[in-house]
Symmetry: C2
Subunit: 444 residues, 2 copies
């Protein structure tokens, strides 16, 4: 017989939220004064500020400064209950969530499980590539990069050396562009000082994009300028190319060309990450849940989905809203109000997405920003965009302490041309061992 | 046939240093202008500032801020070469170090491998206890503590609850005392806010010390006052008690009494960590290497040992110097000069330990310090000692950026009564699963 998880009932309606990303976090906040019991379930005990994950991966900031424990964020919110657990399935008949710590009953269920890396069914790619969807991924990438150079010191075979020193990034969206830029900065300012024995002229950074432009979804100016910035910084950009296969060593492109690398970063797509137990008709292409304008999952009265996992099909957004922080935050905020209204039988407010623009940083003093201020489009590329990017990200990080630490790091890195966190702590990717055929010449 | 590791020879005598703790780090610095090739081997790519590890374990500071990559520390030192490798053995005949990346030739070898946790042969203890000798240990302890509370939420059986909420620290030296103090502060200021559903009145922190006093080796005032401070803070101190066994759940003391805990922290002793391949006669009790007053390992011309792994038996120090940072730093500094003199056939300077005192922090505004200033003994307990402790530790951390980050954290923690890094990122100890006999009552 299944057990119940132990959560003291407050007698109030139970709003169970699965996932504490941007959407879930905002929903909890929005329910602060509501007469409900808010139960947040997440497999981690912290919220991750995903937009800065690429900086953790490239030794720019501490992992700890972009994650924030839920219990601390909501310390003073009396109706908040947190449970660290994996969700296995939901039982919509019995209104139960089956988790690793037992069953959790809900009156209203909100699915805010976000998105996961989409390998488009390529199991070999999934095995060999590094993704960028979690703090563990970011730390693993950082460790792998540093470890590669330590290992490269032992090689003189050119191809083997390149396999450790070259990087292939697949996907020209914000993550791919930002990673490529950050790696280039490290190649220029940091690595040659750390590894004077290696020749960084031979370190190649490839960025592969299936379409004809980078930062698809942003303005043509942003796409063009980001391409120009990256090319000036020496990134090898492959437009209109797809990766056909990657065995952990050889990357084969769709036109038959090959690249050699032991480190391929997969930033080429995400797919919704819905929970099990929902009727299949509600799951659209891309694994997102079909929701109405109130974020209610089609076919259910009391089940909602917000953020990346939700697809609200409207004439303006025939594919649903972009899978970004802003729609998630706005949906979370509104749903909090709507849940209270729903419970009191009051009319609900339909969701209208307020597009505030998008931005991406490319390197030192270089970013691209498409902003919407007072209903005007402001497009900026270069230093001003970079300042805006820093400002917006800094104020968006949860927790004053984290902001302080990130700011300290940024100032430090900027003025010293140095990034401090070049540590191999924790796991790294086990890439293919160096083959024994390599000549270890006696040079000592 | 064994291969050689690839390190371009500079034609200068090769000083190979195994281990980058306090002693090794100081030796590298001391050789900055020497006409030698300095080769540091360490299995990590960073130096760890061990005295603050307990603060990482208790969520006070980021792990990243007390570790510093060797390559960055010695970025501008031209004669410095670093290799990340595990040392397997040394061949004193051929003057070779056998490592995971191949053979490394030396002209002078310095063993600075420090100490490792001493379980006194108790394999069961080694398996079930958490040690505090590395950053991985500290992170693992932090994760375990936080995870324990998450799991405790699911229990109502009193013994099972206690097994997760109670902590047993074995060893009343600086590590044990500092950890006990920090845990008590968390119990008072932080955990009750994070876990309002748990009753922290029932959280016990036990400190077990085999002798009759805490902080053995410090002044009687320091020992007495630290005991008083900890007792006032509610730590349960067991003097003159030893742990007979620990199966991961039940701690049995030498008088037959038992304590229940799933988290036992073993800070009861360390033992030298010498490399393989040395003649057994040079290895003393406690696994330390017998060295003369120049830190030369007995029986060898060109092999030295410094820091915790070295035992320099003198009339003043019949057991060798205390296994602390200060002797290690001083020996590293002097050996740098002596190696240069040795190579030039000049006379060597014998090592004389300058005892600068010792200190330990117990809690907020509470520390004990025995200082030696201008040959005078200054003993302080309380607020003033605490200020000195902070000042000395802050200026001792390697790297200005790290100092900034640690200081930011300390100020933050002090004024907010909060410690920010309550994250479960990375591995945790797999303690014994909660048994199925526990009643999971339906309370929701």
């Amino acid at each position: 017989m299944a057990k119940y998880a132990r959560i003291a009932s407050t007698g109030k309606p139970k709003v169970v939220i699965i996932g504490g990303g941007f959407a879930g976090l905002e929903l909890v906040k929005s329910l602060r004064n509501a007469e409900v019991q808010v139960i947040l379930i997440d497999k981690q005990n912290y919220h991750t500020f995903q937009p800065l994950m690429y900086q953790v991966a490239t030794s720019g900031i501490e992992a700890d400064s972009i994650v924030h424990p839920f219990r601390k964020v909501f310390e003073s919110q009396k109706n908040f209950y947190f449970r660290m657990a994996e969700v296995q399935c939901i039982d919509t008949q019995q209104r139960l969530v089956e988790t690793s710590i037992g069953l959790i009953r809900y009156d209203y269920l909100v699915i805010a499980t976000g998105a996961t890396t989409n390998y488009f069914g390529d199991a070999q790619m999934e095995k060999n590539a590094i993704a960028m969807k979690s703090i563990d991924d970011a730390i693993s990438l950082r460790n792998t990069i540093l470890d590669n150079f330590e290992r490269a010191l032992q090689l003189d075979d050119e191809e083997q050396l390149n396999s450790l020193m070259d990087y292939v990034i697949v996907g020209g969206g914000a993550t791919g562009v930002e990673l490529a830029g950050a790696l280039t900065e490290l190649r220029k300012h940091v690595f040659p000082k750390d590894y004077p024995e290696l020749d960084f002229k031979s370190m190649d950074i490839h960025l592969i994009q299936s379409g004809g432009e980078l930062l698809k979804g942003m303005s043509p100016e942003a796409s063009k300028k980001s391409l120009q910035f990256l090319e000036e910084m020496g990134v090898k950009i492959w437009l209109n190319r797809r990766v056909k296969s990657y065995d952990g060593y050889t990357v084969t492109l769709d036109n038959g060309e090959t690249l050699i690398t032991r480190t391929l970063i997969w930033a080429a797509g995400v797919t919704g990450n819905p929970v099990k137990g929902l009727r299949p008709e509600s799951i659209l292409k891309g694994n997102r849940l079909k929701v109405d304008v109130y974020n209610r999952v089609e076919g259910y009265d009391n089940i909602f989905a917000i953020g990346d996992v939700a697809a609200m099909i409207t004439p303006e957004n025939p594919q649903g809203h972009p899978m970004l922080a802003q729609p998630a935050i706005q949906q979370g905020k509104l749903l909090g109000k709507n849940l209270v209204n729903l419970h009191h039988g009051k009319p609900l407010t339909p969701f209208v997405y307020k597009d505030q623009g998008a931005m991406a940083t490319i390197g030192r003093n270089k970013a691209v920003a498409d902003l919407k201020l007072f209903k005007k489009d402001i497009r900026s590329q270069g230093f001003f965009a970079w300042l805006i990017w820093m400002f917006i990200h800094l104020i968006s990080i949860v927790g004053f302490r984290n902001r302080l630490v990130v700011m300290t790091n940024w100032f430090w890195n900027y003025f010293t041309y140095d990034s401090g966190n070049r540590l191999i702590v924790g796991k790294k990717q086990e890439n293919i061992p160096i083959t024994e055929t390599i000549t270890h010449k006696t040079v000592i």
